[in-house]
């Protein structure tokens, strides 16, 4: 990289820290730290949510898999976009009925009692820590491939900046830096694609140069392989804690629906951009490792000046996701695990201090975790496995249908976790089917059966608005 590129990259990091410092004065309470005081309007919600979910998997992962397998991986990845649009349209607006909610544990407790909050909190932390670790690892991959800096110091420096602005400015900083990162990646990755297309001789030359199966819908995948991947990506990251937290940060259900659903639509276009960059890498650099597809295209094709910004965009992709999960982990640990287990109600100022301190500790822990996980996409899918088969069905049952049966929720969570664990790790995923799928089926069956059996004792809630701080189990 030329000196101009280094200056631009350094300016980008300084800007992130500056936003952290500027937003710090807006953080006066746990409400500000967790949900930015419910002030986030839909375009900002849209950009920050898109930046949060368009992480290493959606950029480096999709580009690498498209180089290896073709567009089939992109089509499977579109399951995530489909899920996002559906959740945005049907579920996200209803989350705003829970006044004062910061976490999914707030909703679970309002319907199913404190044990459900604790279990949800623990599962949330496991998921967030896994994905945070994967993003930290991705920072190392990007920096190592583009700047030739060794992985360990790259991860430490990148995560250091993330921890700095996340703990200063909480959700305000995370959302605002997300938006900046959204602009970086939403402008520079498409620009990289346009420059790459020019380098291969245009769209027709690109299509003529890649193997035919790389362009087909199913590629080399068997139907079972495709459906398993599709189901895993459809269910795996459904309404994970950072997305729920973003939704809580909007002023009302209209903003929640619009921002969430539009981010889902936008993701289809982004996946196409990433996958096409993978195909360009296949044409221009057929001998590289597939997970180096995106960084290699960027490093070799971008002109001076633009290169520094594109490297910043690649960093933005992973850092925005990392900061979102870091903030969520800190909020969930404090609100859903530490507070319910502490003998007295924590005063807001103390909770804010604990959330900030937790951000620092979790960030450091995730950095260590990251350095021991080998692959970005594998790590993401590994973290996905237990989320959907446990929390999602009881959560949707509560939010969409007002179900309040604690036995139904807790038994469904247990059944889903056991079936997933046995299938995935005990039986080693028979038929190539991800444990997530039988886990969700078991979770759904148990939840519906027990909820119906206990419906007279736990009648469904009719009123749409619940003040979670005064929930009936609180």
């Amino acid at each position: 990289m030329a000196i101009l590129d280094w200056i631009l990259l350094g300016a980008y990091f300084l800007l992130l820290v500056l936003i952290g410092v500027q937003t710090m004065r807006r953080v006066k309470s746990p409400d500000d730290f967790a949900v930015a005081g419910n002030r986030i309007i839909w375009p900002v919600f849209f950009g920050s949510l898109a930046a949060a979910f368009l992480g290493g998997g959606a950029s480096l992962g999709v580009a690498g898999a498209a180089m290896r397998d073709g567009y089939v991986y992109m089509f499977a990845f579109c399951a995530f976009g489909v899920q996002t649009v559906l959740v945005g349209y049907f579920v996200a607006p209803r989350l705003k009925n829970y006044i004062g909610a910061h976490t999914l544990g707030d909703i679970m407790e309002a319907h199913y009692g404190r044990p459900a909050r604790l279990v949800t909190g623990i599962l949330s932390v496991v998921l967030c820590a896994g994905i945070l670790g994967a993003q930290a690892l991705a920072i190392g991959t990007v920096v190592n491939a583009t700047l030739d800096v060794p992985t360990v110091p790259a991860v430490i420096i990148g995560m250091g900046v993330v921890v700095l602005y996340s703990s200063f400015g909480g959700a305000w900083a995370v959302i605002q830096t997300d938006l900046l990162q959204f602009v970086f990646l939403g402008v520079l990755l498409p620009v990289a694609l346009l420059i790459g297309l020019d380098a291969v001789g245009g769209p027709s030359a690109l299509l003529d140069s890649v193997p035919a199966e790389h362009l087909s819908f199913m590629g080399d995948y068997s139907p079972a392989q495709f459906l398993t991947l599709f189901a895993a990506l459809l269910l795996g990251e459904t309404l994970v804690p950072p997305y729920a937290q973003r939704t809580f940060s909007t002023p009302d259900s209209r903003h929640a629906r619009k921002g969430y659903a539009l981010a889902g639509f936008f993701s289809f276009f982004f996946f196409f951009t990433s996958a096409s960059l993978g195909l360009i890498a296949l044409v221009l650099y057929p001998d590289i490792e597939s997970d180096q597809a995106l960084p290699t295209v960027v490093m070799n094709l971008m002109p001076v000046g633009v290169l520094g910004l594109v490297v910043a965009a690649l960093m933005a992709v992973v850092m925005s996701t990392a900061s979102s999960y870091l903030n969520s982990t800190a909020v969930v640990l404090t609100k859903d695990i530490y507070q319910p287990l502490s003998p007295a109600e924590l005063p807001p100022s103390r909770r804010l201090t604990i959330e900030r301190a937790t951000s620092v500790v979790v960030g450091a822990g995730a950095t260590i975790f990251a350095l021991s996980v080998p692959s970005i996409v594998d790590a993401l899918l590994y973290s996905y496995t237990l989320w959907a088969p446990t929390v999602i069905v009881p959560l949707f049952g509560a939010v969409l249908f007002g179900v309040r049966s604690a036995p139904a929720a807790l038994s469904a969570i247990t059944a889903g976790a056991i079936v997933t664990a046995v299938w995935q790790w005990g039986l080693d995923a028979p038929f190539g089917l991800d444990g997530l799928v039988p886990g969700v089926v078991a979770n759904l069956l148990v939840f519906v059966t027990v909820a119906m059996a206990t419906s007279s004792r736990y009648p469904r809630r009719q009123q749409p608005a619940v003040r979670v701080t005064e929930g009936e189990f609180a």
Binding site: G47, P93, I99, Q176, V183, G186, L197, L206, L207, P251
Partner: protein, 49 residues
């Protein structure tokens, strides 16, 4: 024709939407963070949509 539309249209659409959202986000940042405007009191109230 279709490949040309797809390969040039999609990145152009992504850039356009991103810049528009970025502009609205910048306006929001100036109002909310730099000026610290807390005039609107609708925060946290559901409209049951």
């Amino acid at each position: 024709m279709i490949p040309t539309l797809l390969y040039y249209g999609v990145p152009t659409a992504v850039v356009t939407v991103t810049l528009w959202v970025g502009f609205l986000g910048w306006r929001f940042y100036v109002e909310e963070v730099l000026r610290g405007d807390r005039g609107d009191t609708t925060a946290g109230e559901p409209d049951h949509g």
